[in-house]
């Protein structure tokens, strides 16, 4: 079967393409990309499926480099299947999943299990990220070589910071020797411990113990120093503070190999939303002040922040319908990440081309996976975006098992209307 995508505005930053074109997909690969591919050039045996994508944007499949799929161990919150269903509904063709499962993904068998579940059940490509330390307890390095052979794409103790600077140094050096990315969850637990929200005037009013922004900043600076010293590279996960943005910007200009991601909630919401004590606004890092939100937007605009990732963290009502203090951190994001990020385009902060870089090309480069491009011969992973479609977030319609979303009821402009993974249409809006 062949697919012909006609008349969409094709934006592929990896090839500097931005024009109305047709794309022909054959055997799961992109076979032709031309201004006009006439139907007459195909034969009936091709069993051609034609999509008229006029007034849409056609891009390399979006990649969410930071999700939690909860399998194995917490299948009641999410599985590889439901998480990947949420992914394609949100326009993502590839997702990377963090290692804080139960058991932790710190050994070959767990990585292989995730790959097997993905092969059997997933709608999108799934790339496991393995733990830095055994059990994610920050003491003993995991077997990076074996994990790489089993199909892990990066290492991170996300959820827990690597507090021991000596261990972090060795992890950076060891990962580098396997040409594997290190993703750091930056948190100085001495400063953050016991905290429940951003430290500032709002936490003072609410009487909730604060997590100061510097709990992130000092660890970002530490990791930058370590990467510079060891001549390795580090990727900073979920940047939430102005201080982190500034530190990454300065490190970059000093020639240090550091990349960074942020999540949509960090440029969309401030800590003032905590006033109602709703646990759907509780996450780590916490929502920050308006100065931080502005700094994140600036960092996205000037390229300091390379990627937008959802930090999709599904929880059930068991973890969330409790007192604020006891509630688990995290929100779901796969099905709102693109639309919230499109607001940056509508507001003139990013061009759509820059956004696609941050949601497809750059994550592929950081994770060193062969994705994020529409080059002829590459896997036909394609996202089709309607920039102007108005819709309302309804958590009851989420594919994810998680309902822990602070945006329920929000009216958003723009969304993915079709998601093609390996040449198969895995998601299509009813209007396509």
């Amino acid at each position: 079967m062949k697919l012909l995508l006609k008349s969409g505005r094709v934006i592929d930053p990896s090839q500097d393409i931005d024009m109305v074109m047709d794309i022909l997909i054959e055997d799961g690969k992109i076979s032709r990309m031309e201004k006009d591919i006439p139907i007459s050039e195909t034969t009936p045996e091709d069993n051609l499926q034609i999509f008229d994508l006029k007034d849409t944007i056609v891009t390399p499949g979006l990649i969410d480099m930071h999700t939690h799929l909860r399998e194995p161990g917490f299948e009641y919150k999410e599985t590889v299947q439901t998480g990947s269903e949420a992914a394609v509904a949100g326009g993502f063709t590839s997702i990377a999943c963090m290692a804080n499962t139960d058991p932790v993904n710190d050994n070959r068998s767990v990585t292989e299990f995730i790959h097997m579940q993905a092969r059997l059940t997933a709608m999108a490509n799934v790339y496991p990220i393995a733990a830095v330390s055994k059990g994610q307890d920050g003491k003993v390095l995991a077997e990076f070589g074996d994990l790489k052979d089993a199909g892990a794409v990066a290492f991170s103790d996300d959820g827990n910071p690597v507090t021991d600077s000596g261990l972090m140094r060795h992890a950076l050096e060891y990962a580098c020797s396997f040409d594997m990315p290190m993703i750091s969850h930056c948190e100085d637990t001495g400063l953050s411990s016991g905290g429940l929200m951003n430290e500032g005037f709002i936490s003072t009013q609410l009487g909730l113990p604060g997590i100061p922004g510097i709990a992130e900043d000092v660890m970002v600076i530490r990791d930058i120093k370590l990467a510079g010293f060891t001549k390795t590279s580090v990727h900073i996960a979920h940047v939430s503070t102005a201080g982190s943005v500034q530190a990454v910007r300065e490190a970059r200009s000093a020639g240090i190999n550091v990349t960074a991601e942020t999540a949509p909630h960090y440029f969309t919401l401030t800590d003032a939303t905590l006033r109602g004590f709703s646990t759907n606004f509780k996450m780590y890092p916490p929502l920050r002040g308006s100065g931080d939100v502005e700094a994140i937007k600036e960092g996205l605009q000037d390229g300091t922040i390379d990627a937008i990732a959802s930090d999709h963290a599904p929880h059930s009502s068991v973890e969330k319908d409790v007192e604020f203090e006891y509630a688990a951190n995290g929100i779901v994001g796969l099905e709102t990440s693109l639309p919230l990020s499109l607001k940056l385009v509508h507001d003139g902060i990013l061009t759509i081309n820059q956004l696609i870089e941050k949601m497809s090309v750059n994550p592929a480069n950081i994770l060193k996976i062969p994705k994020g491009s529409l080059k002829t011969g590459s896997d036909a992973d394609i996202t089709v975006i309607d920039m102007n479609k108005m819709w309302t977030v309804d958590t009851d319609k989420f594919r994810s098992k998680g309902r822990n979303c602070p945006f329920n009821g929000w009216k958003l402009k723009g969304k993915a209307v079709m998601t093609i993974v390996g040449g198969d249409v895995k998601y299509a809006d009813s209007e396509i």
């Binding site: 016991g194 430290e199 500032g200 005037f201 936490s203 003072t204 009013q205 609410l206 009487g207 909730l208 113990p209 604060g210 100061p212 109602g276 004590f277 319908d321 409790v322 007192e323 604020f324 203090e325 006891y326």
Partner: protein, 307 residues
């Protein structure tokens, strides 16, 4: 006038008029507690539940006495909860209580926002009897009633609040209330227990006791909890007492007719010396008396009572 709200969650959203109205009502209820027969039929047939997830003697007893003096039926529930102990959730507890059709639920909980959870969930009136370090509105109301009784007004008074401000719901509720009533509020404590940007609440911040209580009309001391020492917020109770206790020497900095207040329970010899706690300036026990009146007023007003 009547109090047109379902719940009493905090002082933050009360207007100055509402505060005055509650205090007026409390004043008129105060007399009932001095009668030989200390009971009126006002809330006969109403059911009041106190749901306390934190230990309390004074506040719970005060609420219970207040309800009983108004002839309500009272049920006291002491529950314990922690993130570690997996018992029934707060939401389930609340739903179960709701099914037994009480009229008012009074909740105390160590987690900030817990009273708000109940208020959003249940049709019943919810009174916050203290939620974490967030708010303790009835304490602030009884404090304001005491000050108003003694001084006639709060307008223009200099009021110092001294101690562990960061962890104090009493401090927060009083700051909201007293600043609304026109007082000049000074807060004081070790910098480690001074929450970020608190000056934005309209108070002046001091780290030296003498500066804070200078010319004060009212000095409100807060209870210092020993567990804060374990988190390195101060080195020792001895050092804390040396710098932040109200004693015979520094009380002279305040006005001659200063009122000494404390929400209790007091740590004698830590934040307040015994001779000050028991001395002529102290209104600590009158605060407790006024607590019953304020709580009677709130139970009455939230039940739809009018003045």
């Amino acid at each position: 006038m009547n109090l047109s709200r379902k719940d009493m969650l905090g002082i933050v959203d009360l207007s100055r008029e509402e505060i005055d109205f509650i205090l007026d009502t409390a004043e008129s209820f105060k007399e009932i507690s001095t009668r030989k027969i200390k009971k009126v039929p006002t809330l006969r047939g109403k059911t009041v539940i106190t749901l306390f997830f934190e230990a309390s003697t004074r506040t719970r007893t005060s609420f219970e006495i207040a309800a009983k003096r108004l002839s309500a039926d009272t049920i006291n529930i002491s529950a314990s909860t922690s993130s570690a102990v997996k018992g029934e959730t707060l939401v389930d507890t609340a739903r179960n209580l709701e099914s037994m059709n009480p009229d008012i639920i009074i909740i105390r909980h160590s987690a900030a926002g817990s009273a708000h959870i109940l208020a959003g969930l249940l049709e019943q009136s919810i009174i916050n009897a203290g939620d974490g370090a967030h708010e303790h509105p009835t304490q602030a109301l009884l404090d304001m009633l005491t000050i108003r009784e003694k001084k006639g007004t709060m307008e223009g008074l200099r009021i110092a609040i001294v101690g562990d401000i960061a962890h104090s719901r009493v401090a927060r509720s009083n700051i909201y209330g007293l600043t609304k009533m026109g007082a000049d509020v000074a807060i004081c404590g070790p910098a480690t227990m001074m929450p970020m940007d608190i000056d934005q609440m309209g108070v002046s911040v001091y780290y030296k006791m003498e500066d804070a209580i200078k010319d004060a009309d009212v000095v409100m001391m807060l209870r210092m909890q020993l567990e804060r020492q374990e988190r390195n917020l101060f080195p020792s109770l001895r050092e804390y007492a040396n710098h932040f206790s109200l004693n015979r020497d520094n009380i002279n900095m305040a006005k001659d007719d200063v009122l000494v207040m404390h929400p209790g329970p007091i740590n004698r010899g830590v934040e307040i010396t015994p001779e000050i706690a028991d001395g002529p300036y102290s209104v600590i026990l009158e605060q407790v008396t006024n607590g019953v009146a304020v709580r009677m007023a709130l139970l009455y007003l939230l039940s739809g009572g009018r003045k």
